[in-house]
Amino acid sequence: MIQIQGLRKTYRSRRRAVAAVDGVDLTVRDGEVFGVLGRSGAGKSTLLRCVNLLERPDAGTVTVDGVELASLRGGRLRRARQGIGMIHQHFALLGSRTAAGNVAFPLEVMGVPRAERAARVAELLDLVGLADHAGAYPAQLSGGQKQRVGIARALAGRPRVLLSDEATSALDPETTGSILALLRDLSQRLGLTILLITHEMEVVKRICDSAAIMRDGRIVEAGTVTDLVRRPGSELARDLFRLGPAPQLPDATVVDVTLAGDATDHSFLSVLAREHDLDVRILSGAVEELPGGRVGRLRLALRGAHAAEEAPLRRLREHGLIVEVPR
């Protein structure tokens, strides 16, 4: 649904040039929720703003729903933008308009007749659970309510793509949860493709089918969340399950085991104990329920005569577990 190829954007000041986006290729499939994770300054915001040409890229192409946007200008670009919804970190609502007025804004821009507009606004506010607040001004709404207005506004033009610029970063954890649940629900009900940027792992964990990690203007790793977690050496897996520094145990071998998909049902602990005569201790670990399935990561200390051998680890790998020896 979204194809980004060879995207570059450099900001030049008098003294230096900063490559905010430094050659990014990215594909977001139809109907998926794709999260770009990165720290502030990683270039993810610029990347997102290049998708609807709020920033004009220096090089590369951006194709949304089959339309190459970087080559469009003027009225054709404006019409293409009307088919892409966007929500913002600080909501970006018009303070002089009510919730209903804000949702009506894109409809006015699109030239929807007044009567039709009113019906559509009511429908949209109902969709985000704000039917009772149509007449409230943004200043009278809570952060979560403001973002719901933002979401209703972004969906006004029945877009197939929604861009989310740190949409939950200004919200408390509980409100973040409800907004993420709403986004997930909308993506499924409306078949919406969502490209979001965030610095919160929680967001990726809660709603993303796929993710990319961005650093210094480049994509470091990308793929479906379940694939990424299973990839040895994955930064996403490391950040998702913080196991801490590996302890040095004189008489034991420490291994990190990642389980995803079918492997989560595998009773590997008893296999180690029974077949390899090992004493297994769990040092740390976590299991997460992700949109793509259950994923877990455990740090184990293995003790026994064969603990330092390859055989037990090979046995686990045969069962689809990812086994790494932490350093």
């Binding site: 709020l54 933008r81 913002h88 018009l94 303070g95 002089s96 894109p106 006015e108 821009v109």
Partner: protein, 218 residues
């Protein structure tokens, strides 16, 4: 002088002041909005970046702002004559009043427009709004409280300027205070005039604040 002598003078002066202020405020509002919007649009990070135009416009505005009004009044006499055909009278005073107030109000417009959250402009752009829609429906509309406050301050400044309109025979309350109160030592006339002016400024300010508050939904 007795009150029955002062009253008609005050009435006439008030009418002249109101006329000058009314017309020059209306013209200043239009001119100042235009120049203020242009200043914001043509800035480097504006919607229609045009740096040379921005600099030239800013320079003209600054020149207009740095001239003492009395100098401006005299300096643009040829321009006034070309525009309204005369250099004396109330109409002739309206021209320098407007020319003097436009740069003043334009800077206020610029400040008010810059207060509008950039992310709101970005959001409107992302929705496919045209530049015209962004200026009219986002910038000007969101800035309404600031614009009204700015215009209020401008009107009050115009009251001060209009006192000097007497130089070109513009009349008005300020002129009355100078001619009777200052030059003929008629303290009662001066005091009465000042009282009316204070009342007038107070009225403008209260009304302006009220409108600004009604427009603001914070």
């Amino acid at each position: 002088m007795t009150w029955s002598e002062i009253a008609p003078l005050l009435w006439e002066g008030a009418q002249e002041t109101l006329y000058m202020l009314g017309v020059s405020t209306a013209l200043t509002a239009i001119g100042g909005l235009l120049v203020g919007v242009l200043l914001v649009l043509t800035d480097r990070d504006g919607l229609l970046p045009a740096w040379p135009l921005h600099v030239v416009l800013g320079l003209i505005v600054n020149i207009g702002r740095s001239l003492p009004f009395i100098i401006l009044l005299v300096a643009i006499i040829p321009f006034t004559r070309a525009l309204v055909g005369t250099t004396i009278g109330t109409e002739a005073a309206i021209v320098p009043l407007t020319v003097g107030a436009i740069p003043f109000f334009a800077r206020m417009v610029e400040t008010a427009l810059r207060e509008v959250d950039r992310s709101v402009v970005a959001a409107a752009t992302a929705m496919g709004a045209s530049r015209r829609e962004i200026v009219v429906k986002v910038l000007l509309r969101e800035a309404r409280p600031g614009l009204v406050s700015g215009l209020t301050i401008t009107v009050v400044a115009l009251v001060g300027y209009s006192a000097m309109a007497g130089v070109v025979g513009g009349g008005g309350l300020g002129d009355l205070a100078i001619r009777y109160g200052y030059q003929r030592f008629e303290d009662e006339v001066m005091l009465a005039t000042v009282a009316v002016l204070i009342l007038f400024v107070q009225l403008v300010q209260v009304l302006g604040d009220l409108i600004a508050r009604r427009l603001s939904h914070r």
